[in-house]
Assembly symmetry: C2
Homo-oligomer: 458 residues x 2
């Protein structure tokens, strides 16, 4: 790995059989978009409009359709002259040799999607990486060191509930066994390990930065938020990612009849869960943070039975780790108090006291606040300014969402490039980024990789 604090001069040249000014290399927008939409035939999701591409994606990690997309990735990058390796978490590293031996500079992201996601989250980053490989091949351009594209497994954490799960294992932050034993959400019996095995992506090399070190990691991603669009800007230079934690909260009361059980004799787990969710939002707001519940299930699930048990997820995010920790502590205290019948923030105003209930917590995932590397940030900014030709179209940003670059950045310099999301919407079938913005982002990604490669050489 390149020494982590290294700063080097930048040379705007790729060296090779044909020495090319990297600003002259241009990605092919039509090819990029055509290939992107073609690969979206594996795992097509909800239709939201009448156009041929007006459908979302539902390509859960390690599903059959994820396997199809992976197979395509392996074949395509191999045919573009890459050596392809699959590690024990199914992460796929495709490396194109450079003039010299050495670690590769990677473009990385993920091919898995939300159950009801769009065509750009993750997918654009991989497809832009593949487009980079094609562009280099078109120009027979040789880089100084190898460059590569990496597809990380289960970035979304939607099927197996840890996000950036396999870059986390690669980084040594998530134990391999924890990841292997993750069960799919919704009560299925499949684990990450069983699904890796089933689809043939349980690779033989260790999932570790030690076995597969990287010179640097760049990631093109859609913003997934409203800022670039609101400011009519084109490229976000991402300096880091906010902190977040995922919790599973269990509320235990008592199943009882909805008609014959007086309010004072109830231990209504759904009512308490409703109060807890309402409260989590207020408390997060107070801390200028966000809290969200994306999954909730209850038992037994009958119109005339008060649920005795509710389980829900809580996703808490804030720029600083300390804020997330403070919210966690406050929520744990307040949830217990609400369960015991204390009137936190007037939530029990006008309510009949109920029987006490129990609340228990499990922490599913911790993603600390991350700052990216100045060299990579500088490479992205210089590329963004060069590609757009207009500084005012470029914006420094922090990411609200987690990305594999968070874990990559633990062991090599890294940064990210954001492009605008229409209406700021993501994790939604209607997620949209224009072809021009996708290509602009892909161009900045390629330049960032090549700049970094040149910088290492110089």
């Amino acid at each position: 790995c390149v020494p982590y604090t290294a700063r080097r001069a930048f040379s705007a040249q790729v060296t090779g059989s044909r020495t090319t000014d990297i600003t002259a290399l241009k990605v092919n927008q039509d090819r990029l978009m055509e290939t992107l939409h073609q690969t979206c035939s594996w795992g097509t999701g909800k239709r939201w409009g009448s156009g041929p591409n007006d459908t979302g994606m539902s390509r859960l990690a390690l599903s059959d359709t994820d396997k199809q997309a992976r197979d395509w990735f392996v074949e395509t990058t191999s045919s573009l002259g890459c050596h392809v390796k699959v590690d024990a978490m199914g992460n796929i590293f495709a490396v194109r040799p450079g003039r010299r031996e050495g670690l590769a500079t990677f473009a990385g992201s993920h091919l898995d999607t939300q159950p009801s996601g769009g065509r750009y989250d993750g997918i654009l980053g991989i497809l832009a990486g593949v487009e980079m490989l094609k562009t280099l091949k078109d120009h027979q351009a040789e880089t100084e060191f190898p460059v590569g594209v990496v597809n990380w497994t289960n970035e979304e954490g939607a099927r197996f509930p840890i996000s950036m799960c396999s870059s986390g294992v690669w980084a040594g932050d998530i134990p391999l066994e924890t990841a292997y034993n993750l069960r799919e959400v919704g009560g299925g019996t499949a684990t990450m390990r069983s699904e890796l095995e089933r689809i043939g992506y349980l690779g033989s090399i260790p999932a570790s930065h030690k076995s597969t070190p990287m010179a640097a990691h760049f990631e093109l991603h859609i913003e997934q938020g409203p800022l670039l669009e609101a400011e009519k800007q084109k490229i976000g230079v991402v300096h880091g990612v906010q902190a977040y934690r995922w919790f599973m909260v269990d509320v235990s009361g008592r199943d009882a009849h909805t008609g014959s059980t007086p309010l004072g004799k109830r231990a209504d787990a759904m009512l308490l869960a409703a109060r807890l969710i309402t409260h989590s939002h207020r408390l997060a707001t107070k801390h200028s943070a966000v809290a969200s519940t994306g999954i909730l299930s209850l038992t037994p699930g009958s119109t005339n039975t008060i649920p005795g048990h509710v389980r829900f997820t809580l996703d808490v995010r804030a720029p600083a780790d300390s804020t997330v920790e403070a919210i966690e502590a406050d929520l744990k205290r307040d949830f217990a108090a609400l369960a015991a019948g204390e009137n936190i923030q007037g939530l029990l105003d006008g309510a009949t006291p109920s029987l006490p209930l129990e609340v228990s917590w499990r922490t599913d995932s911790v993603s600390p606040a991350t700052l990216f590397h100045p060299d990579c940030i500088a490479a992205v900014r210089a590329s963004a300014e060069a590609v757009t030709g207009d500084k005012s179209l470029v914006r420094d940003m922090t990411s609200g969402a987690g990305h594999d670059t968070v874990y990559a950045s633990r062991h090599c310099p890294a940064s990210m490039i954001f492009v605008p999301s229409k209406n700021g919407v993501s994790h939604n079938p209607e997620e949209y980024t224009s072809p021009e913005d996708c290509a602009l982002g892909a161009q900045v990604l390629m330049q960032s990789v090549l700049r970094f490669d040149s910088m290492r050489a110089s």
Copy 2:
């Protein structure tokens, strides 16, 4: 049908081959309890204790285990000399001939249970009816008119979401097509009609009080509430049932990313649903009513996606129809206001205003407040006092839960008998009524039927 307002003198005799003082006829407690627990082997539910009968029930309407219980009921009542008829809703009427032709006086209840229910709700009423038939046979007792036992289909409304569904069709209050087309909750494709057909209980006679009129309907049931136990009383003489309505509420917002979507750009359907449920409870409390949410599902169901859609049930009950109607009107107004961002009862205090959401309502079922018939109430009271030998052990009550007797009472005199529920708990595997109390209730049920029969004769 006996003229609905008729009041007649009461004669404490059954007539027949052997004229028996009805107070001398005694149900067999051991046989009753043994048979009850035997039939609970069809659809055994959750274990909650270590005893042989310390398991609940999960015998959803028209399931394979419900078919087993039905088959047992048909065989048993046939072997006890009954004529058995099945109507188009799968209601099973078993009639034991009397000395004279005429309508039968029925003991009725249901063999279906909650998904996570107990061994007594409904089951006790049917088993006590069967025990009555056995006792009459033991004594070769002849009644003046026929007496019968009826098993009503899908009383719980747990699998197909209208409670007392098939007595409702019999009464003409629920259209046959509405009942037939009910789909099972939880997204399955089975309908009541397809399941009736599948298990062989789509009978050939119309489901109607016109085709199968009754002289009277008595129902023994567990109280499902805490009153009898708290007052150390043994028998509830049930004068009527409170009003209730079931609603399905749909909340529509927008799927979005939990990390990158600022609070002000969210339309978080789960957060709004949490506020609505919290509010429904407050409003019901204000009206001295109860409101409960027993089913809630959301989409898409991913930790890091703000749910764009939540659907939940709302079960609202109060003694008077006008109260339930007032709550419905208030909730419809307030839910819409909360969805639009109005700060009802401080629920939005300290919250960031969100994008507007939409709330829509569907009424699944309406069960008006019901008053039972004075003749039947009198028969139950007289029987309860005779059987217990102590007026202070008998209590007049209104039922918080709905029962098939509600619909039966639309077309013939009817009343109910309650026995104590341990801890007032029902719709819970731990539902419990002692063998002594079960037998006492069965004794009162039999006497009430025989008293009514004698009363008709005199």
